[in-house]
Amino acid sequence: MKIVLQGGRIADPSQGLEQVGDLVVEDGVISGVSAYRGASGDEVINVEGCVVCPGLIDMHVHLREPGYEYKEDIESGALAAAAGGFTAVCCMPNTNPPIDNPSVVEYILRRAKEKAYANVLPIVSLTKGMGQDQLSDIAELKAAGAVAVSDDAYPIQNAETMRRGMEYCSQFDLPLLTHNEDKTLTQGGAMNEGFVATVMGAPGIPAISEDIAAWRNILLSGLTGCRLHLLHISTAGTVEALRYAKSRNLPVSGETAPHYWTLTDKACEGYETNAKMNPPLRTRKDIEAIKAGLKDGSIDAIATDHAPHAINEKECEFDKAMFGIIGLETSLALANTHLVREGILSISDMIMRMSTAPARILGLRSGSLREGFPANVTVFDPDERWIVNPAELHSKSKNTPFAGKELYGKTRFTLLEGKLIDLRRG
């Protein structure tokens, strides 16, 4: 079976490729790029005007299965991923039971294969039961299929536990993805500590709580040699910490999410629970630092922290509302609209941060259109204008602060190991 994507703007930062041409896929594998209308095949799809790039990878999502299927499940999450242009998503371990033993890893991989809209790659909990002390069986989890280890949602507070966790992970060459939060500074917090929270009378989550934890984890990475990845960077201070780590050649990477370059804590005004997430929306100064970090490459990756919640978990008092927003179906458009169209990143830079870099951090054979790689490909129209309508999103949950926003850039389809996933044609 030979598929030709004809006449697209092929962009592959893994090989510095940017040209209009045909991408040829044979039997689920990339077989190469040829000149425009230079290839023929069993199926020829005209993609003129669209960007053809390595399949996007979201290395930070919450798919809620097992345990919280009323919010999202692997099928609806993978569907949302495909609609958003992702061919792979990495799911966080805060499920019930948590992903802290091989049987849950196997369950997730099996469920993902049944409904294959996108690859689902499990991230496992650093500690058993997402607790604060006992390490999970990391070697067994890796053998079962874990791509990374994390303390997301339940950040390790004890520096000794984190040190031992890093030492242990480093033996198996698994990256440790840390949620950087010193909980002693954030108890009861609901939004960024600052003027807006002061006026709203909302308990604050200070930026320094993220910075302190990020610095601690970076210093421990230096001590242990563990590959460290900083999750959902929201502050100027953490961007600075990441720059320091890179200047010392420490094995540290970092990601941010679209809401951290598009929204500030002002979005919480009126007690808007769809603007409540952790880490919280910060300030204009933090947005500028995050954009600068994305531009100069200090921030390696863009992820979503896709966190579905049911209506009743958001339609309540602000301090009682759950943290988090969905992001899979708006991420590409928010990057394209606010980073590419505003001249902060080129299309290739954006794809680097949404595909090639995540693949490199996780050690995946993906994120590239090189010959012989699995044919995971995203095709999107960067000029298509659309308005976010939560009712039209594929995710089970609709908790997005971007409802009604006008964005540019929409997925046409993806190829998942050569299989056409075209949700727009049904």
Binding site: T198, M200, G201, G204
Partner: protein, 343 residues
């Protein structure tokens, strides 16, 4: 104005309108028969998620004087303890044909949330550390009554037009109000700031750094940690209640030290203007944030804490009337004077 969730989003004219109405209502409180039919047939529900004696009783009294039916929902006995959401509780109360819900809740923003959920007016009786608008209004009314009423009600207008006697201006320019204490956790302090600044007063917040919210200096106020500076030439001192658990949370070393450095007593009041008005939203911790002597009244200062309580009833009558009264406020005099119920 459909709801009263806070003074931040209430414009100056609405605030003055409520104060004017409160002024018209106030004399009812000193009549032998304290009842007018202004809200006859209206149902006011008092939904209190936090313990409160004075605010709840004040609202209840206000509703009853206006002949409304006031019903208390005691949260301990309601379905809330069975896990009912705030949204469902509010919708249920609305379906019971309530005309207005007066709500106190421990979550900041609960009143704004309630206003989005139901169509009937919501009166915020205190939400978390956000706002307590009727306390802000009664503080304004008390300051006006004690410091501005005499001049505003006798001054002739520039045009010589009649009627200013019935229509005070509520112009607070030239008044400096120092609010002292636990500002970080105070909903009273926030409502006071918005209301007082909108009507022209200068406001200062004075307290230890650990009890000041971050970036308070970006509010339209002066912020002081030094009590002497903060009280200098103040016309009014509002003393906030110090929750004793602040000490346990490590925000203060001891109540003794707090009282020595930030406590309001005869000595600290020397920095304020002679005859300074001393106010407190209650309940007081005598000997902590305010000395017992100042609470009872000392020479050189005028303590008006009980007056605040009385004015609270008048202000709450005005708020309820403005939100659910059938007649426009300018026809109020007929409600108050002509249809007195003489039983």
């Amino acid at each position: 104005m459909r709801d009263l969730t806070g003074l931040e989003h209430t414009d100056a004219e609405d605030i003055r309108g409520i104060l004017r109405t409160a002024h018209s209502f106030k004399d009812i409180l000193s009549r032998p028969v304290k009842k007018v039919p202004a809200l006859r047939g209206k149902s006011v529900i008092l939904l209190f998620y936090e313990a409160s004696t004075r605010t709840r009783t004040s609202f209840e009294t206000a509703a009853k004087i206006l002949s409304a039916d006031a019903m208390n929902i005691s949260v301990a006995q309601s379905s809330v303890v069975k896990g009912e959401s705030l949204k469902d509780t509010l919708l249920t109360l609305q379906s019971l044909a309530a005309d207005c819900i007066v709500m106190r809740h421990s979550s900041s923003g609960a009143a704004e949330f309630a206003a989005k959920v139901v169509d009937i007016p919501i009166v915020n009786a205190g939400d978390g550390r956000h706002e307590h608008p009727t306390q802000g209004l009664l503080d304004l009314y008390t300051i006006w009554e004690k410091r501005l009423k005499a001049s505003e009600l006798t001054e002739p207008t520039d045009t010589g037009a009649a009627g200013n006697v019935a229509s005070p201006r509520f112009d607070f320019s030239g008044v400096t109000v120092s609010i002292v204490g636990d500002l970080a956790h105070s909903r009273v302090a926030r409502s006071d700031v918005w209301g007082m600044v909108k009507l022209g007063a200068k406001v200062r917040w004075v307290g230890p750094k650990t009890l000041l919210p971050v970036e308070a200096e970006r509010l339209p106020i002066e912020v002081h940690t030094d009590l002497h500076e903060g009280l200098k030439n103040a016309d009014v001192v509002i003393v906030l209640r110090l929750q004793t658990e602040r000490q346990e949370k490590g925000l203060l070393p001891s109540l003794r030290e707090y009282s020595r450095v930030w406590g309001i007593n005869e000595n600290s009041l020397r920095d304020a203007k002679s005859g300074v008005l001393v106010m407190h939203p209650g309940p007081m911790n005598r000997g902590v944030e305010i000395s017992s002597r100042v609470a009872d009244g000392v020479p050189g200062a005028e303590t008006v804490i009980e007056r605040q309580v009385t004015n609270g009833v008048a202000v709450r009558m005005a708020v309820l009337y403005k939100l659910i009264g059938d007649n426009p406020v300018d026809q109020l005099s007929s409600e108050v004077d002509d249809k007195r119920i003489g039983e």
